[in-house]
Amino acid sequence: MKRRYDFTNRDIVSIRGFTREEIDYILEVSHSMEPLAERGSDMLRGKVLAELFFEPSTRTMLSFQTAMYKLGGNVIGFAEPGVSSVWKGESLADTVRVVENYSDVIVLRHPLEGAARLAAEYAKVPVINAGSGAEEHPTQALLDLYTILKHKGRIDGLSIILMGDLRYGRTVHSLAYALSLYDVDLHLVSPDLLKMRREVIEDIKDRIKVTEHTDLMEILPDADVLYVTRIQKERFPDLGEYEKVRGSYVIDLNVLKKAKDDLIVLHPLPRVDEIAVEVDSTSFAKYFEQTKNGVVVRMALLALVLGAIK
């Protein structure tokens, strides 16, 4: 490893909190977790992770649980505050100051923007943001980067497409920001209505080349990575408008004929019909593997913030 960083007790709130070097280091540690994910480890024996999910997200919750168990730790927590009315009425600031006494690290999912930052300000133990509001989902961005790195051997120099709902999509904002720390060509493909917010583009356009398109075919032939997100009906004022665009943002074998052989297709999941099932068995498809990579990245983060790796 080139350089080490001490993440002990650090909060993982926003991808903006990291330098490129720190992210590279997290990705390296993630790689070193691969064998431990296979055979298990007792690196975090005696440690307790508290999962506070004020909003359902089964996949992310299971991923953190698996990561903690693979490292020999234990998990407590709740999914949705409805389970216990105590949590519902209480402020988040109070909840974390109770839960920190039961646990060594808190993983938080919350419907309000900035909730993880507030929780981190009150909690003595490190807080990991597992999604707050519509914007931030830093561990998803990290696992996306890890998947790209794993298959391409690098992130610099790649041509990367983000496609679909770039306006409301929770994961694409964190990912676009993370990618802007690397030397990539970023292409944003979406219907006009769902274009990336200006403030996100403003934030990254000084560091990397960003282009916007409505037609995927303009840039697919040169792309190395295609990141697909779901376009939801509810985002459109009327159904006709939705029907008009939906077909243009579906990936199937016919579309992929135009792609490079070594293109990889990613998706934060769940998928509905934006990637045809026929793509699953091709070498393009890396979206299920992403979830596996999510476990090693979360193992790395837990080991780092709990000081088991320095």
Partner: protein, 155 residues
């Protein structure tokens, strides 16, 4: 300024807010909650020639001194303003407003779903100054950018 204009607006005790950015005098009036239906003499001067600013606005208020929160709000919209406290017709205290790099407490985030707008949480809104002119702030909690008009709307 000529003696003649000064005589018109001379106040005994109160505050002169000088070096207000051009076009901002009415925003200052709004920040101070002045509606002219009560209180002492209020003089508003706009487009006054100024050595420092080229042109400036001024507001003079009889019988009132400003609290720190009002001064902070004025700093947001007019970071070069000077607050002069007048006692017995003379300037007894002069304070340059200062736009801090972190703005706390005086304005709210524009995003309703931002945790800093939650009534339940013990939280004070907090913003970073991204740019002074035009004024732009970034929310510490949700990263939303507040533009000048978003901020003025709140005063």
């Amino acid at each position: 300024m000529s003696k003649k204009t000064l005589r018109v607006s001379k106040i005994k005790d109160g505050t002169v807010i000088d070096h207000i950015a051009r076009g901002r005098a009415l925003d200052v009036i709004k920040i101070l909650g002045i509606d002219g239906r009560s209180g002492g003499i209020v003089t508003i001067a706009m487009n006054v020639p100024s050595k420092k600013l080229g042109v400036k606005d001024m507001v003079k208020i009889e019988g009132r001194e400003l609290n720190p929160e009002e001064v902070d709000k004025i700093a947001l919209i007019s970071p070069r303003a000077t607050i002069n406290i007048i006692r017995n017709y003379r300037v007894v205290e002069k304070q340059k407003v200062k736009l801090p790099s972190i703005v706390q407490g005086i304005i709210k985030c524009i995003k309703p779903s931002c945790i800093s707008n939650s009534k339940k949480e013990p939280v004070k809104p907090k913003f970073y100054v991204v740019s002074e002119n035009p004024l732009r702030l970034r929310c510490h909690y949700c990263n939303s950018i507040l533009e000048e008009e978003d901020i003025l709307k709140q005063f």
